[in-house]
Structure formats: structure tokens, C-alpha cells
């Protein structure tokens, strides 16, 4: 059981690191993106940020499970708080990520559709 939780914690930490890298590179890529399509990347950035927080909460919960004996001494209610955090993450943060991602794609879709219509109009003219 402990090995399983340790493995999950390790994967969480790694995912967290790569999520951070992704956040940094989305921000860098934004500088080279066209202004009209920048809103989509902004929404994606927000979504990944919410996912990052969710992953952090997940990592904290698994850290609490792994280091329960040492944490209990300083924070006896650690397990309860971890449960609350997990609930908040599942209830709010993950759906927020989904909404942000959906909005990002909607922005891109609308912009590209608009450009396509404009091209068609130019061609017909």
C-alpha cells in the first residue's frame, strides 16, 4: 500500500513539474501568437493553471498519506484538511479547467471561422 502511494506521489510531483514547464512555455508562445488568437491561449493558460492547482492538491493529499505519522504530531487534523482540499479540487478546479479549455477552443474556432468567411468573401469579390 505504501509503495503504491509513494509511486502515485512520485508521479504527481513529476506531473506537477511538467505542468509548470507547460505553463511557462504557453506563456512564452503567447508572445509569438497573433493578437486575434491570443485570447484562446490565455484561456488555455488559465485552464492549465487550474489543473496545476488541482495536481498540487492531489500531491499534498498523497504526501499527507505518506508522511501521516510525522504530520499528525504537528497537525492532528491533517487528514481532514486533505479531504476537504481534495473535495474542493474535484468540485471546482477540474470543471474550471474543462470550462477554460472549452472556452479556449471556442475562441479559436470563432476566430478561424471568421477569417474563413472573410477569405471566402474576398475570393467571391
Amino acid at each position: 500500500m505504501a509503495a503504491f502511494e509513494q509511486a502515485i506521489l512520485g508521479m504527481d510531483v513529476l506531473a506537477l513539474f511538467f505542468c509548470l514547464v507547460t505553463l511557462v512555455y504557453i506563456k512564452r508562445n503567447r508572445e509569438y501568437e497573433r493578437m486575434e488568437l491570443e485570447n484562446g491561449l490565455n484561456a488555455l493558460l488559465f485552464g492549465v493553471f487550474f489543473l496545476f492547482i488541482s495536481l498540487l492538491v492531489h500531491a499534498l493529499v498523497y504526501a499527507e498519506k505518506n508522511f501521516h505519522d510525522t504530520l499528525v504530531l504537528s497537525l492532528p487534523e491533517a487528514a481532514t484538511y486533505a479531504g476537504y482540499l481534495m473535495n474542493i479540487a474535484d468540485l471546482a478546479l477540474v470543471p474550471l479547467f474543462a470550462v477554460c479549455f472549452f472556452v479556449a477552443l471556442l475562441f479559436v474556432y470563432r476566430q478561424l471561422a471568421k477569417e474563413k468567411r472573410a477569405d471566402k468573401k474576398a475570393k467571391s469579390d
Binding site: 505542468c19 474543462a98 470550462v99
Partner: protein
């Protein structure tokens, strides 16, 4: 609805939203050209994030496997996302670099390029170099000032510590003075009590003395009256004795003569006379008894007189004792007066000491306040110096990129205009203020 139901609902909502987004993306991919979107690869990869949330919705997978799969997928997708992000960034950066290089290579063949470089770029570079040197010098001087300020601050801190120690010592002395004051108050109180007791004793002694003199006067009057009474009684006794003797002698003579005259004839009469004599004898005896009684009374009075004399001597002794007590009281009174005088002296000394302590305290507070103000000013100066240093650094940073000379020239020229007017005056002002301030602080500490 329970929390678990909400959680399930939210999971489903997430999955549905992600699936709709995926559908939208693939529709877009088919209809429009997504190659003009730089982050298209990132969007495509991000759509894979639907999978882990889809797994969490599927119920027939065991919990542990589900968690493991979800984490594994999340890790892989984030790795892919990071790679996609890095790759797209590199590609974009490479494109931008090529564009910039094209611009640069195109300008190389321009005919006035050398002239432009000689007359416009070179002087600007020289100016920038000068500004840079100036900034370096300023930075060095500021660093030196900063070091001097730090050194001064350390010295001031030491002085503050010393002053704090002095303050502590003063506080301790004050506490000692307070205890001394309390002791003196206690002494004063005890002395007052002693004085009160002595005054009471003195008043009591005076009252007893008065009573004694009144008693003496009364006793003297009594003695006098008794003496007079004694003399009177003596006189009465002697006169009575003489009268009785006279009467007796006369009666005897009369009886003898009558007896001599009426020896035979008046035997009865003699008998009667004998009876009378007997009566007279009885009367005499009675008188004798009375006299004896009176004598007894006189003896009693004499005894009383002796007692009174004894009492008088006792009173005399008491008076002597009282005199000694009075003398003692007087000596204690003088002692108490002396103590009171000493106490007054100590009190005045304590008051003087208190005043000096208060003066010291006020002086110390003033010094502390001055010092605090000085420290604040020094901090402000330090902050100002740091700010100017920061500005100098920022100015230096702005100089760095040579790829955009126009903007740099504009900023440096702009800065130069400002600094040439302000810096000389502000720096001189700061130095003068610092000097005056340091002199003021040194004056405060008497150096």
C-alpha cells in the same frame, strides 16, 4: 444531494465539456487551416487530457488501477504538452531569428551604412559608453557611501546600545531611589510615631505633675488643719484638766470644810455628798474616758500624719523618678529632632537626586529622539542611495541590447537630460546633508 453525487456530476460535466471541445477541435481541423495557429500542436495534445477524466468516470475499473492509470496518463500528457510547448516555442523563435537576420543582411549592402555607422551610431555608442562609465563611477561612489553609511549605522547602533545600557542603569538607580524613598518614608513614619508617643508621655507627665502639686497642696492644707486641730485639742485638754483639778480640789475643800463644820450633825448630808462625789467620780471617769478617746484620736491623727509624711516622701521619690523620665524624654526628643533634621537633609538630598535623575532622563529621551530621527534620516538617505543605485543599475540594463539603437539613444539621451540637471545638484545636496547630519550626530554624542 450528497457530496459524492455532486462529485460524480462534476466529473461527468468535465468529461462532457472536454468531449465537446474535442469535437469542436476536429471540426475546426477539417474545415479551417489550423497551420496558421502556432499552438495547434499544444491544443491537440491538451485534448488528450480528456482520457484521465474519462477513466475516472468509468466505474468497472478497480480503484487502485484507476488512480494509477489516471496519474500515469496525466504525467504522460503533461510531458507531451511540455515537449509540444518547447518545440513550438523553438520553432517560433527560430523563425523570428531568421526574420531578424534577413533584416540585418539586407541593410549590410546599403550605401550609406558606413556613414550612418560613423556619424550616428559611433557617437551614440561613445555616449553610451561614457554614460556607462559614469554609472560605474556613480555606483562605486554609492557603494562607498553605502559602506560608510553602514559603518556609521553600526557605530550609531553601538552608541544606541551604550545609551540603552545607561538607560537601564538609570532605571536601576531610580528603582534604588524609590526603595530608599520608601525606607525614608517608613523611618519618617516611625519617627513621627515616636514623637507622638513622647508628646503623649510628656503630656501625661505634665498632668501627673500637676496632679502631684495639687495633691501636695491639699496634703499641706490637711497637715496644717491637723496641726491646728492638735494644738486646739491640746489646749482644750490642758484647760479641761486644769478646770477639773480646780473643781475637784474645790469640792474636796468644800467637803472637808463642811465636814469639818458639820462633823456630827450632818452625817446624812455627808452621805449625800459622798454620793455626789461618787457621781462626780463617775463623771470624771467618763470624762477621762472621753479624754482617752480624744487622745486616741490624736494618736490616730498622728499616725495619719506619719502616713501622710510617708506618702509625701513616696511622692517626692516619684517626683524624682518623673524628673529622670522627663530628662530621658527630653534627651529622646533632642535625638528625634536630630533624626528629623537628618531625615529632612536626606529627603532634600533624595529630591535633588530625583531632580538630577529626571533631568538626565529628559536629556536621554531628547538624545534618543534625536538619535531616532537621525537613524530615520540615515535610513531615508540609505533608501535614497539604494534607489539611485537601482536607477543606475536599471540605466545600465537598458544600455545592454545593441540591436535596437534608436530606442537606447532616446532613453539615454532622455536620462542624460534629466540626470545632468538633477544629479549634480541632488548629489551635492545629499553629500552636504549627510555631512551636516553626521556633524550633528557627532555633536550630539560630544565627539
Amino acid at each position: 444531494m450528497a457530496l459524492s453525487d455532486y462529485l460524480i456530476l462534476q466529473h461527468y460535466l468535465t468529461v462532457i465539456l472536454l468531449i465537446i471541445a474535442a469535437v469542436l477541435w476536429y471540426k475546426l481541423k477539417q474545415s479551417a487551416d489550423i497551420s496558421q495557429l502556432r499552438g495547434s500542436r499544444m491544443y491537440s495534445t491538451a485534448l488528450l487530457l480528456t482520457l484521465p477524466f474519462l477513466i475516472s468516470v468509468i466505474t468497472f475499473i478497480p480503484d487502485q488501477i484507476e488512480v494509477m492509470l489516471k496519474q500515469l496518463l496525466l504525467l504522460l500528457i503533461f510531458i507531451l504538452l511540455a515537449v509540444a510547448g518547447i518545440r513550438s516555442y523553438r520553432e517560433a523563435f527560430k523563425e523570428r531569428k531568421d526574420l531578424l537576420r534577413e533584416l540585418y543582411e539586407g541593410a549590410e549592402k546599403h550605401p550609406i551604412r558606413l556613414e550612418f555607422a560613423k556619424h550616428i551610431v559611433e557617437p551614440e555608442i561613445h555616449k553610451i559608453m561614457d554614460v556607462k562609465e559614469k554609472h560605474l563611477l556613480e555606483r562605486k561612489s554609492l557603494q562607498a557611501k553605502e559602506r560608510a553609511l553602514i559603518h556609521r549605522e553600526e557605530q550609531l547602533q553601538k552608541k544606541v546600545d551604550r545609551l540603552e545600557n545607561l538607560h537601564k542603569q538609570l532605571k536601576e538607580q531610580e528603582a534604588k531611589l524609590v526603595t530608599m524613598k520608601q525606607e525614608l518614608k517608613e523611618k519618617e513614619r516611625s519617627a513621627g510615631q515616636k514623637i507622638d508617643v513622647a508628646a503623649k508621655k510628656q503630656s501625661e507627665l505634665q498632668a501627673t505633675q500637676q496632679r502631684q502639686t495639687e495633691r501636695d497642696a491639699r496634703y499641706a492644707e490637711k497637715i496644717k488643719a491637723l496641726d491646728q486641730k492638735e494644738a486646739k485639742l491640746h489646749e482644750e485638754y490642758s484647760t479641761m484638766k486644769a478646770e477639773l483639778k480646780k473643781k475637784f480640789d474645790q469640792l474636796i475643800l468644800e467637803q472637808r470644810e463642811s465636814l469639818k463644820k458639820q462633823t456630827t450633825k450632818q452625817d446624812l448630808y455627808v452621805k449625800e455628798r459622798e454620793d455626789d462625789l461618787k457621781k462626780y467620780r463617775e463623771e470624771l471617769n467618763q470624762r477621762k474616758d472621753e479624754l482617752h478617746k480624744k487622745r486616741k484620736e490624736v494618736d490616730d491623727m498622728k499616725q495619719e500624719l506619719v502616713d501622710i509624711k510617708e506618702e509625701r516622701s513616696y511622692l517626692q521619690r516619684e517626683r524624682e523618678k518623673y524628673q529622670t523620665v522627663k530628662e530621658d524624654a527630653l534627651s529622646t526628643r533632642t535625638k528625634l529632632k536630630k533624626e528629623q533634621h537628618d531625615f529632612e537633609k536626606d529627603r532634600s538630598d533624595v529630591l535633588a537626586l530625583q531632580e538630577s535623575v529626571k533631568r538626565h532622563e529628559t536629556k536621554l529621551k531628547r538624545r534618543e529622539e534625536d538619535l531616532r530621527k537621525d537613524i530615520e534620516r540615515l535610513r531615508e538617505r540609505e533608501a535614497e542611495a539604494k534607489r539611485s543605485l537601482e536607477e543606475a543599475r536599471r540605466g545600465k540594463d537598458k544600455i545592454k541590447p545593441f540591436s535596437e539603437p534608436h530606442s537606447i539613444v532616446w532613453t539615454t539621451a532622455d536620462k542624460k537630460d534629466k540626470k545632468t540637471t538633477n544629479k549634480t545638484s541632488s548629489r551635492g545636496g545629499i553629500v552636504a546633508e549627510l555631512k551636516s547630519h553626521v556633524n550633528h550626530v557627532l555633536d550630539l554624542f560630544g565627539f
